[in-house]
């Protein structure tokens, strides 16, 4: 089991959702985060106060998958998230020690496999 974390542009989030859907990755969570990568900072001015915005809005996907789903999940995140410009985000794949489905108590592979598979 792995935990795949994908941090992407908010405006690409819909494309990522579509790509995950096509890859038949059904279970994940997402949330808004702020981050800083290599991208140029934005300079904004609020009534004379000029600031350099070091953090950009990003969307963070967390997908827990069994090992044979890792590649297609990573591919889906790449495909949906890529624009080619600096700031497209990063993907991290981490080993996952344990997973439990709360409703049934299913553990590990059973917990990260969609119901009915």
């Amino acid at each position: 089991m792995k935990l795949v974390i994908g941090i992407v542009r908010p405006e690409q989030a819909n494309q990522v959702l579509e790509a995950l859907h096509r890859a038949e990755v059904r279970g994940f969570s997402m949330g808004r985060v702020q981050g800083h990568g290599g991208e140029m900072d934005r300079v904004e001015t609020y009534r004379g106060t000029t600031v350099q915005m070091g953090l950009s809005e990003k969307v963070r996907f967390e997908v827990a998958v069994s090992d044979n789903f890792v590649d297609r999940t990573v591919e889906a995140l790449c495909e949906g998230g890529r624009t080619g410009e600096v700031g497209d985000g990063k993907i991290f794949v981490l080993p996952l020690e344990q997973a439990v489905r709360i409703r049934t108590g299913d553990a590990d592979e059973g917990a990260v496999t969609p119901v009915g598979k």
Partner: protein
């Protein structure tokens, strides 16, 4: 002979002018709530831009083209740069200083320009919109205001338009359709759900618009006389019945009464009564609100299934409802209420023909003129932001600000920093 200034009339018209000006920021709220959060400021700023640009063009030439003389198609330049606009009433029968009349009519020009922005939000460049606003306010608004209000061929031919069904509502609605076609759809239109980001702004904006509309319609008699009083009360009655019918249509179509539907119904009801306010009885005003809800509701439901990204449905809410209101006068105007003319229902078929002329001519002129104007502007400068900018959001790339900025991660730049922060920043190069 020019009548003396009446203090009561003047006091009300000063107040009404301020009420109508409030409608434009209210429209900004209404529109800003309907777009995505990354475009909030840009959408509101288009309304502020209308106040800035249309006021200047109105003072320069717009007012004169609309109200100087009795030319069939356009007015003269006798009042250009506010020449002769002073403390005296402008004509026989007027009891308010022309300065007040000028300001009141100017606020109409402003909101009409702002209304069109609803068709092009979330992708039109701000600079291009400023240029469009300046030219449109003179070439389209002032011309149609002359036709319907200022002594042009419609008003002198007998067409009745109390508060702007022709130059405000039909003009903005059909211009919006042309603008949406020339500027083109948003890049994600039809592929992603593009949802309103704050329904509370939408409701608050609609409420403030209704409040301002009492000045818009109630001031269009230019006095505290019977026409103004009738229009004022009809502005309460007509949108109320539109709301009731809209609730019913929502329930029939989706089994729930929606808040954004209700906000839209308020606008549609106010638009319906705009041309008819001072000409129809309170009872007919309530029927107008009820019947008039149906075509606007239907067009909104249909439009979202097309490729036409007339984003905030200016055509349905303003163009269509304004057209229905203008036609309604032809059927149900009542001389015993308005002292001017009867409609078909009271034996005067000629009035209906005068109204039909207006609904043929005004939308045609507005659509064609706006289409050509935007094509010309588009040949000189890009009308749209790039896809990348559109994805990032218009607030950041057009204005360098965000509506919902957190301040986290913001580094203060002092003037002697020369635009560069002292902390090292990764170079993407």
């Amino acid at each position: 002979m020019i009548a003396a200034v009446d203090t009561g009339d003047t006091a009300w018209m000063l107040m009404a002018t301020a009420l109508v000006l409030l409608m434009t920021p209210a429209l900004g709220l209404f529109y800003a709530g309907l777009v995505r959060s990354k475009n909030t400021l840009n959408t509101f700023m288009m309304c502020i831009a209308a106040i800035a640009v249309a006021t200047v063009t109105w003072a320069a030439v717009g007012y004169s083209i609309a109200f100087d003389g009795e030319g069939a198609l356009i007015g003269g330049l006798g009042n250009a740069f506010m020449n002769g606009v002073d403390f005296l009433p402008r004509e026989e029968g007027s009891t308010i200083p022309e300065l007040v009349f000028f300001a009141f009519q100017g606020t109409f020009c402003i909101i009409t320009v702002a209304l069109i922005s609803g068709a092009v939000v979330e992708r039109m460049r701000f600079g291009a919109f400023l240029v469009f606003s300046a030219l449109w306010s003179v070439l389209v608004y002032a011309v149609l205001a002359h036709w319907a209000f200022g002594g042009g061929w419609l008003i002198s031919g007998g067409t009745l338009d109390f508060a702007g069904g022709v130059p405000v509502e039909m003009a903005s609605g059909f211009s919006a359709l042309a603008a949406a076609l020339v500027v083109g759809a948003r890049k994600d239109y039809g592929r992603q759900a593009l949802l309103p980001h704050n329904a509370m702004y939408v409701l608050l904006g609609a409420g403030l618009l209704w409040f301002g509309w009492f000045g818009f319609n109630g001031g269009s008699g230019f006095s505290t006389g019977e026409g103004s009083v009738l229009a004022f009360t009809n502005t309460l009655l007509c949108p109320a019945t539109t709301l009731v019918v809209w609730f019913a249509l929502d329930v029939i179509a989706g089994r729930k009464v929606t808040a954004i539907g209700a906000a839209t119904a308020i606008i549609v009801g106010c638009v319906l009564i705009t041309p008819a306010g001072g000409y129809v009885s309170p009872g007919w005003a309530m029927l107008l609100g009820a019947l008039g809800a149906i075509p606007s509701w239907g067009i909104i439901a249909y439009r979202t299934r097309t490729r036409v990204d007339e984003t905030l449905d200016v055509l349905a809410a303003h163009g269509t409802a304004g057209l229905v209101g203008i036609l309604f006068i032809g059927f149900f105007a009542q001389e015993s209420w308005n002292g001017v003319s009867d409609g078909l229902f009271y034996g005067n078929a000629a009035q209906l023909w005068d109204q039909v002329l207006a609904v043929l001519a005004a939308p045609t002129y507005a659509f064609v003129a706006t289409f050509v104007l935007l094509k010309v502007i588009g040949a000189v400068m890009p009308l749209r932001a790039t896809e990348r900018e559109e994805a990032m959001g218009m607030d950041i790339n057009q204005h360098g600000e965000e509506a919902y900025v957190t301040g986290e991660g913001a580094i203060l730049l002092l003037p002697d920093d020369d635009g560069k922060a002292k902390v090292p920043v990764a170079d993407p190069g």
